[in-house]
Amino acid sequence: MKLLRSNDPPTLQLRFPCGQTLVLAVLIVALVVIAAEGIAHLPFVSERLPTAVGSRSRVFDINIGLMDQLAENKGGIDCIYLGSSVVLNGINPAVVSAAYQAQTGQELVCYNFGVLAATADTNAELAELLVKRYQPRLLVFGFTLRALAAAVTQGETVYHDIVDSPWMAYQRGEPNLNGWLIDHLRVYRNYLALRNWMQPTFSNDLYDLIHAPEDGYHPFFATHPLDLAVVQPPFYFTDFVLDPVNWDGLQRIVALQGQTQVLLLEMPVPDFMLGSFEDGPEGYQRMFEAFRQEFEPGGVPLWTTSPLNLITFDGWAEDALHLNDSGAAVFSAWLGEQLAAAVRDGVLPAPALDVSLSR
């Protein structure tokens, strides 16, 4: 106790009042933020400045802002295409809508929400968010076996990049300040779209952001033709193992039936790739048939493409896993016609309201 007794004066000797400068500075910060938020809401500004939600997945990050813009411009969104890069590069919403409109006369407002490398578990999180946020009439989940396979490269990284972001946590009902601020401050979302201002790639990123497609579709322009001699089938074809987490993700997507019409769509795979499947093309088709039997009784159709030979050799990207722009056009036209036929036959409810009523 002797150690604690001392005749020294106390170290802290503050006179009050103190800290007025700090209080004044905080007030100025608050005023600046309020003014900036007001400016960000002006139509002239809000139409021009992109927004983002602060996720490490750049595609997801920007897509939310673009979809918000599309929903605002068109008065709502009829359908969403969900999946990985095979969807991002493979479904052109404009072509689908044109084919659909040619058959039905109805305009279809759709958005391609393909996220690079996303597997079914990530897509389940996205599907739940997007259905709640935009209430589309149709949710199309396009997938290949990669979406359901175990140990897929980058699958887990993308999951955490998206799901762990503060805004996503806030959307799931987990309170956090950053998520709340992103959700409520448009000016903050504007800044987040430009938050890589210090990266060497900023100029290119900014160009891409300004020229981002309003329907989310990113065409794959082939730089050289497909060469079968150098293309190797991925491991999820040669040695497919169903991942329980991704299977659960698929079940969660299907469980959204009721809140929206869910449609499962097998994305095209080249014939030669099917040959490397464990039991050949027949085994591959049997697997999708099993999926169909699992989900169709619940009102969720599964449309398969592998037996149809829709895509010719020059419609594939050089990796033979994605469609190039011409392949995507062929596939998207087919999809639009199929949707129109399904609506006409009563298999699917009409995803778009009558133009004169809805808009």
Partner: protein, 476 residues
């Protein structure tokens, strides 16, 4: 735990809360415990190395101060303890480099010796606290400072957490009396400390980190791919990022230490405005410069002057600055490029002495204004050019210098760094013009508040941006 992390802010706040309730002596005990806890968050192995060296130096100092011992014995002890300190530093810092070089040479001769088992990692801060220890031992030997009686105070001199990772390199003769004196944190100390912290945060997080992030990944690996205007821009970016990074760090830790009522030495004073190389080294990392001056430059110079006490002693014009700067290069890191950097600065200093040899000494401030500006531009330019071998291996450095003069490839440089370089220069100019780093505290309250608001907003924005560069000087 890094200095700019929220964890560190909470840690410092917790230590401060307890600290203010205690009298001075238990305050030192608290700071020592906190310092080792802080170091433990980096590595408990590092803390063990520090504790062993602290014990060794504390005991050795008593031997060095024994009046009964003859001078030769004390000198032998001094060299032995310095050697032990340097051996520890050398082992961790240079073993991998020299063994790696030896292995390469043997490989060239066809002998595959390998360098297994020598993957040593330098304990963070060791380069700094070893210099502090050596200065203490030499000062005790020279009887300029008595040996520390209080083991807690001495251990705190070695381990005090605000200065542990990257200095400033304090001297025992000034730091130990501060630890023995009562401390006072009043409104003025608080304002000055918070100003230092805020300035440091802005320098580090708003200026240095973004500048470092802007650097193209291959500019210092493949300089020939860039045009001279781009190379000049990126070299300036590197130079100002390095400066703001270290000056920012020093400013933060001085501010934090000020909250404990313990003043730390200033390390930076607007170095790029220096009008001579001597002035540059008084303004850049000055605690290291003073250490090198007192323990390498002066002893070398004294030894040379003893042989020939004339102003025209040419070896005395050349050897002390060259040896000092080579030692600075070795201290900064392994690799021959660091020696080249040191030799360049040694050459600058020698050139400056030779040019002014035989002329009357005119202080820089008394020269015509245009000459001051020209001299500052020349010194800044040559210093920035010397950062090239500081940053990259000799071969790449030569490529970089060569590409700087290849005017066949005139690509337009990025303008973005200037949004950060100019505010940084503005802060420097304000400090330089007022010769006072607390100049902002003399401004009207509303202007102060607006400036603080701007700093807060800038910090908020950069923390939400994609960045995250470590303090560059923690690597040394």
């Amino acid at each position: 735990m890094t200095i700019t992390s929220l964890d560190f802010a909470l840690f410092a706040a917790l230590v401060l809360a307890v600290y203010y309730l205690l009298p001075r002596r238990p305050q030192n005990v608290l700071l020592l415990v906190a310092s080792y806890l802080f170091y433990g968050t980096w590595s408990w192995d590092y803390a063990a190395v520090l504790a062993v060296l602290t014990g060794l130096d504390f005991v050795a100092a008593w031997g060095l101060a024994r009046p009964a011992w003859p001078r030769q014995r004390r000198r032998a002890l001094l060299w032995a303890v310095i050697a032990l300190n340097l051996a520890a530093l050398g082992w961790f810092k240079y073993a991998g480099f020299f063994v790696g070089d030896l292995a390469t040479t043997l490989d060239d001769w066809g002998i595959h010796a390998g360098a297994g088992g020598l993957d040593t990692v330098l304990p963070v801060g060791m380069s700094f606290y070893v210099l502090g220890a050596i200065s203490y031992l030499v000062d005790v030997y020279r009887r300029q400072v008595p040996p520390a009686r209080d083991p807690v105070a001495f251990a705190l001199y070695m381990a005090y957490f605000p200065k542990l990772l990257s200095g400033p390199i304090e001297r025992a003769r000034t730091f130990l009396p501060r630890l023995a004196a009562p401390r006072r944190v009043d409104n003025e100390t608080l304002a000055r400390s918070l100003t230092l912290i805020m300035t440091g945060l802005v320098r580090k997080m708003v200026i240095a980190d973004p500048l470092n992030t802007m650097l193209p990944p291959d500019v210092f690996a493949y300089p020939a791919r860039f045009g001279p205007l781009e190379l000049i821009t990126w070299l300036l970016v590197y130079a100002f990022a390095l400066y703001n990074d270290f000056a920012g760090y020093t400013s933060i830790v001085r501010g934090v230490s000020g909250l404990f009522g313990i003043e730390l030495a200033s390390n930076f004073n607007v170095p790029y405005f220096a009008r001579s190389f001597t002035e540059f080294w008084n303004r850049w990392h000055s605690t290291l410069s003073l250490w090198l001056r007192d323990y390498i430059y002066f002893p070398t110079s004294r030894a040379l002057l003893r042989r020939n006490p004339s102003r025209a002693n040419v070896p005395n014009l050349i050897l002390p600055p060259m040896l000092t700067m080579l030692a600075s290069g070795v201290w900064h890191g392994t690799g021959w490029h660091m020696l080249l950097w040191g030799a360049l600065h040694g050459g600058y200093l020698v050139g400056e002495r030779l040019l002014s040899f035989g002329r009357p000494v005119v202080p820089s401030a008394q020269r015509p204004r245009w000459r001051q500006v020209m001299a500052a531009g020349l010194v800044c330019g040559l210093v920035v050019l010397a950062w090239v071998p500081f940053r990259m291996e000799i071969g790449t450095a030569l490529d970089y210098w060569r590409a700087l003069f290849d005017w066949s490839n005139l690509q337009r440089p990025s303008y973005r760094p200037w949004f950060l370089l100019l505010p940084g220069l503005w802060i420097d100019y304000m400090h330089y013009r007022a010769a006072d780093e607390w100049v902002f505290l003399r401004w009207p309250r509303l202007v102060q508040a607006a400036l603080l608001a701007l700093a807060i907003l800038a910090l908020l924005l950069v923390t939400r941006a994609d960045s995250g560069a470590p303090f560059v000087y923690q690597g040394f």
